[in-house]
């Protein structure tokens, strides 16, 4: 199912956010290949991998520094989610263009209240939390391949430290475009999933899955199926 090349070797060097060309190649294969990304990422952080892919710490020093500290403190309690859907009637280009305008994202990401684009790399995100609260963060694009990949990481001061990527690639035999989202959350103080669920009101894995499904509905059917507001005999 997976070629050996797509699985990250156990060599301790490879779990660092090292900047060697071979590291970047390996991460590139992992992120761009057909294997399950999180399986290849059992060790090391997604943030580190994405940064390595972008050319080591050179592009995004802040992120690598932070990851290094986390690793040293053993705060590796990150929550990782990987979800993929196939969208049958849109090309990678079309989907990338829609997604790349981040201000479109609240249309299908249920918990996202607002995204404002600050400049070509940076954007500000506001998500709803239970009890009328909200969480905010700034994110920067740390790697981007046009019509194919957008990788981001939150910057210092985020309410929820998060990083991830979305990848668009053609499915075989005209089956459309496969859209894969991989996200890593690092809740403050190495919190467990339950804390994050409390923050979003939903388990992160289901939330990402539901959001991707709504993206598919919006792209394929032009609207998001709903029953909210329909009648029932409930008192």
């Amino acid at each position: 199912m997976t070629s050996g090349q797509e699985i990250v070797p156990n060599d301790p060097h490879d779990r660092s956010e090292g900047s060697s060309v071979s590291d970047a190649e390996r991460w590139g294969t992992l992120i761009g290949g057909g294997a399950m990304v999180l399986l290849g990422l059992r060790q090391g952080s997604l943030r580190g991998a994405l940064t390595a892919l972008a050319g080591g710490g050179l592009i995004y020093r802040g992120v690598t520094a932070q990851t290094g500290i986390q690793d040293k403190l053993g705060m590796n309690d990150s929550i990782r989610v990987e979800k993929t859907v196939t969208i049958s009637n849109k090309s990678p280009e079309e989907l990338y263009q829609f997604w790349r305008n981040f201000e479109n994202l609240p249309r299908f990401m249920k918990h996202l209240k607002h995204v404002s684009v600050t400049n070509d790399k940076r954007s500000h995100w506001i998500a709803t939390a239970p009890m009328g609260a909200s969480v905010e963060w700034d994110a920067e694009i740390i790697n981007e391949q046009e019509n194919r990949l957008i990788a981001w990481a939150s910057v210092e001061g985020a309410d929820i430290d998060n990083s991830g990527f979305v990848r668009f690639q053609p499915a075989p035999g005209n089956r459309g475009t496969e859209v894969k989202v991989v996200i890593e959350y690092n809740p403050p103080g190495g919190a467990v999933t339950a804390t994050l669920a409390k923050l979003f009101g939903e388990e992160p894995k289901q939330q990402v899955g539901d959001d991707l499904r709504r993206f598919k509905m919006l792209m394929e059917a032009g609207e998001i199926a709903t029953t909210e507001g329909q009648p029932s005999g409930r008192k």
């Binding site: 539901d210 609207e223 009648p231």
Partner: protein, 389 residues
């Protein structure tokens, strides 16, 4: 408006609820003129379909008149008379585009529930639990129809509701059951269950070239209907062993194709029947599989089983060795109404098919509770109830 609301096993009530409104651009609102109680509604009535919530409006076989359309619906206008398929398809996903509408990717807002149970999501169905989308059902005065720009079939005004209503669900279900048999010249098709779907499966089997059709049930009035209208030979399984009778009637070969038009509440005989009922009662088994077992043993070697009766969960004690060693083919699924409805309407219009014979009871919506009771208990020779809102 008035609507039939489910409040628990054997508890349906006609209640006043808010009118439906347009929620998405591709929605339409239909004023319902006729709506049937389907055999599969009895699974809900009896409490065997999970994820129902008290207050849910039920029903999925209906027709009526368009009273409002959303901004994305260009093919319908107010006043159009329409029949609507019971499964909801978006029309644009890979499955809808390949005419597998009941496998639609995009119509079920509760996809996560089905994914957890079945691995993937299938199409939503009106009034058929939250697992299947949680859409308000059709036993009501009005209904919201999503994706109304695809699949909804306009019908002429000069035919009666009863000639058209079953194009919504029962006829395409029966037709698909026969089509999945891939009937060859000389084939004998055995149909378990002589409710409306079974009757239409029999008629469809002949339309698709079957040599003989054999109907299996235990209610004399249903067998009589199968004989009279569907031209089937009949077996009453309370009088004879259906498996043996089928073998004797087919030169010892067994039927070439077997259609299950019964589903998860099959009524078994003897020890096996008690076994299933007991396990289902304590929820160790969700679906009673008597018909499936009998079909697997009765079918000829290399034959086809076509399963149209509804199953929703787990079944026990399937004679899989029989199926494997006899090289049987299993085909099944919720019907792809949108694929068949125009063709079936043509057959009704040219007089080839008059489905109205299945209707035994016509009741006002207010009497839905009574309708469910007589349909469930087969009182008053009840075979099909049509409610008139």
């Amino acid at each position: 408006m008035k609507a039939v609301c489910w409040h628990g096993a054997n508890d349906v009530r006609v209640e006043t609820v808010p009118d439906p409104k347009i929620l998405n651009p591709r929605d339409a609102i239909i004023k319902i003129t006729s709506t049937a109680i389907c055999g599969s509604d009895l699974h809900i009535y009896d409490g065997y379909i999970p994820t129902m919530q008290p207050g849910d409006i039920i029903g999925h076989e209906f027709m009526g008149e368009v009273v409002e359309v959303g901004s994305g619906v260009g093919n319908l206008k107010v006043g159009d008379r329409v029949v609507v398929p019971s499964t909801i398809g978006c029309g644009h996903c890979n499955y809808c585009k390949h005419d597998q509408w009941s496998l639609c990717d995009n119509s079920n807002p509760n996809a996560f529930m089905e994914e957890a149970l079945f691995g993937h999501v299938t199409s939503a169905i009106y009034g058929y639990s939250h697992l299947f989308g949680g859409y308000a059902g059709a036993q009501a005065e009005y209904i919201r129809v999503p994706f109304a720009d695809v699949g909804v079939v306009k019908v002429p005004k000069d035919l009666s509701d009863e000639q058209l209503l079953f194009i919504s669900d029962a006829i395409p279900t029966g037709y698909m059951g026969a089509e999945l048999c891939d009937i060859q010249p000389g084939d004998t098709v055995a149909v378990w269950g002589c409710g409306a779907v079974g009757q239409f499966a029999m008629i469809s089997a002949y339309l698709l070239g079957a040599e003989r059709v054999i109907a299996i049930d235990r209610f004399p009035e249903r067998l009589e209907m199968a004989h009279k209208y569907a031209k089937a030979e009949v077996i009453n399984y309370e009088e004879v062993d259906a498996g043996e009778a089928l073998k004797e009637m087919t030169g010892g070969r067994g039927p070439d194709c077997c259609i299950d038009a019964v589903g998860l509440e099959a009524h078994g005989m003897g020890v096996e029947g008690f076994y299933d009922k007991a396990k289902q009662a304590v929820r160790l088994e969700t679906d009673r599989a008597h018909v499936l077992r009998q079909m697997m043993v009765a079918c000829r070697k290399g034959g086809t089983l076509s399963i149209m009766g509804v199953y929703s969960g787990f079944i026990d004690k399937l004679p899989f060795g029989a199926a494997f060693n006899k090289g049987l083919t299993f085909r099944m699924g919720q019907m792809h109404g949108q694929k068949y409805m125009n063709m079936l309407l043509e057959r009704v219009l040219n007089g080839e098919l008059d489905p109205s014979f299945v209707v035994t009871h016509r009741l006002p919506l207010d009497e839905a509770k009574y309708g469910y009771e007589i349909f469930k208990n087969k009182n008053d020779k009840c075979i099909k109830v049509v409610l008139k809102p």
